[in-house]
């Protein structure tokens, strides 16, 4: 894909991000951080991509650590966010 296209996507996504995140109330800012953190675990895709095409031992190790780190981010992030949000919901 051309660089221009990717750059366009990036800039538009930043605008979307600003738009939706300013609507999150301060009371949910901690879950927002942990939840968006889990979303940044999307690097798992990159980790899978490099893991499946890696050949050398060093790159295999790097890919393994990358997959593990990204999974901590994804699983830890979504679960802890769910745990926190459950506390907010109980009072409804």
């Amino acid at each position: 894909m051309t660089l221009m296209l990717l750059l366009t996507i990036f800039v538009l996504a930043v605008f979307v991000g600003f738009e939706v995140i300013t609507k999150v109330p301060p009371t949910l800012h901690t879950p927002l951080m942990s939840g968006s953190n889990a979303i940044s675990g999307i690097t798992i895709i990159g980790a899978i991509l490099v893991a499946t095409s890696s050949s050398g031992v060093l790159t295999k190790i790097a890919a393994f650590v990358a997959v593990a780190f990204a999974m901590i981010n994804v699983v830890g992030g979504f679960l802890v966010t769910d745990r926190m949000l459950g506390m907010f919901r109980r009072k409804d």
Binding site: V16, T27, F69
Partner: protein, 464 residues
């Protein structure tokens, strides 16, 4: 062993698009506590779809991926279930770090596999290496500081700090140029990561205490940016979109935090918060004017009150007093008074820290009021209970333009009829300045550990 399916690339891209939409819908769900749980689940679903499609398309390499997924999931789940709500800032710091670390490794591994990277991927690789390594090490230092593990949680300062940081910043930019010039050189990328790692440690080490919310928000943003730049390395749209969302989120939060302290981002990151020269000393402010009180006296005040506002601060988190505070609030309410909580944006060690603690203790979220909402109501408030907060209720911010917190928006608790400050001593807050509130005519000091004080208050109110 590998099993892979032939998947049409269009389907993969469509799945990534779906995942990106789910991430956006997920964050939109966070606009209200009622829809937030579902929002978070939508985000998780998006992640699952993106990961499964990638695995199907690329084949399952059982050695590396399954091992990594198992180790990572186990560690993540353990962290998520074991962590105490008071330790949430540390948890978020740690998660930020892992995100940055993963991106750095992905960019490095991708570099090693490409025979002749084009300019786009080499520039993106350099950016990922720099931002990712700074995020990883900076977050680990932030974690250690919050946990008070090895390093002190307060500011750590040494001579020549700024010059050294500037030098390291320059060196890391030179390494970036080296990576772009010689993208196949492993030495170039490793040097970049090494220099950026030292820079990450040194950038965060000096920052401490009440400035932590800004640092955590900023590292959150960096972890997103590193994800997005690694998307440019791999020409992968979902990485770019998700990274951009997280990057924007962290920047918005850092901005809110800075505004709530009336300081610029540069001042928080590189400035030194010190006592202003010529400011009144503690003796001048406090001498003979501070009135200590007892739980019994406060209980009497509370029994006659119609409106009570509770102001929690980092001290409540340290004392693990949130459950006791909830019980006290319920007790006061059962005697017919109205109870609300006033939350300053930078109370605690991360954005929304107090809200999470009080939610854990079952305080309904509509009782938590933001500063701008609750400030006009203080003149009609009979009793304010300040629990472990200091700088955010210091009236010097309004009156002394030379003090370090000048112009910082504060909770106007001094305008209430009576202010009871629960605090172990007259020790200063993070800003290191005395607080004239403690010596005010309408202020009473209850010198005790937060949780013990609240428990004594509960007993005293029950007896009265």
């Amino acid at each position: 062993m590998e099993t892979s399916f032939h998947v049409n690339p269009v389907w993969i891209d469509l799945a990534y698009l779906l995942a990106a939409c789910l991430f956006i819908l997920g964050i939109m769900g966070l606009a209200h506590p009622r829809t937030a749980v579902r929002g978070n689940l939508l985000g998780a679903l998006g992640m699952l779809i993106a990961a499964v499609v990638t695995l199907l398309a690329r084949g399952l390499d059982f050695g590396v991926i399954v091992a990594g997924v198992l180790v990572g999931s186990l560690a993540g789940a353990l962290l998520a279930y074991k962590i105490r709500m008071t330790a949430m800032p540390q948890m978020v710091a740690l998660l930020n770090g892992f995100g940055g670390g993963a991106s750095t490794l992905v960019a490095g591994a991708a570099l090693a596999q490409t025979a002749s990277p084009d300019l786009q991927s080499s520039v993106a690789t350099a950016a990922t290496g720099l931002v990712g390594a700074v995020t990883f090490w900076g977050s680990l230092v932030a974690f250690a500081k919050l946990q008070e593990f090895l390093v002190s949680g307060r500011q750590v300062l040494f001579g020549g700090q700024k010059a050294l940081n500037a030098l390291l910043g320059l060196a890391s930019l030179l390494c970036c140029a080296w990576v772009v010039a010689e993208p196949t050189s492993a030495a170039a990328y490793c040097s970049l990561v090494a220099v950026a790692s030292v820079l990450g440690v040194l950038l965060v080490i000096p920052i401490g205490g009440a400035d932590m919310p800004v640092v955590i928000s900023l590292l959150n943003s960096y972890s997103g940016i590193a994800g997005a730049t690694s998307g440019f390395v791999l020409s992968n749209t979902v990485l770019i979109i998700a990274g951009a969302l997280v990057g924007a989120s962290g920047i918005i939060l850092s901005r809110i935090m800075c505004k709530a302290m009336n300081r610029s981002l540069t001042n928080v990151l590189f400035g030194v918060l010190g006592p202003a020269s010529g400011a009144a000393s503690e003796d001048e402010v406090y001498a003979g004017k501070v009135k200590a009180t007892s739980p019994e006296e406060v209980a009497m005040l509370l029994s006659g009150a119609r409106r009570v506002v509770i102001v929690p601060g980092y001290g409540m988190a340290v004392a693990q007093a949130q459950h006791a505070v909830r019980s006290l609030a319920n007790l006061i309410e059962s005697k017919g008074a109205e109870v609300e909580f006033a939350i300053h944006p930078v109370a605690g060690r991360m954005p929304g820290h107090m809200n999470v603690l009080l939610a854990e203790a079952d305080v309904p979220y509509d009782k938590l009021k933001e500063m701008d909402v609750i400030n006009p109501s203080f003149p009609q408030t009979d009793v304010v209970l300040v629990i472990g907060a200091n700088d955010v209720v210091n009236p010097l911010a309004r009156t002394d333009p030379a003090c370090p917190i000048a112009g910082m928006p504060i909770l106007d608790v001094d305008k209430a009829r009576t202010v009871v400050v629960i605090k172990r001593s007259l020790g200063p807050g993070f800003a290191g300045i005395p607080n004239p509130l403690f010596a005010a005519d309408n202020a009473l000091m209850l010198f005790q550990d937060g949780r013990k004080a609240i428990q004594d208050l509960i007993a005293a109110v029950k007896e009265s």
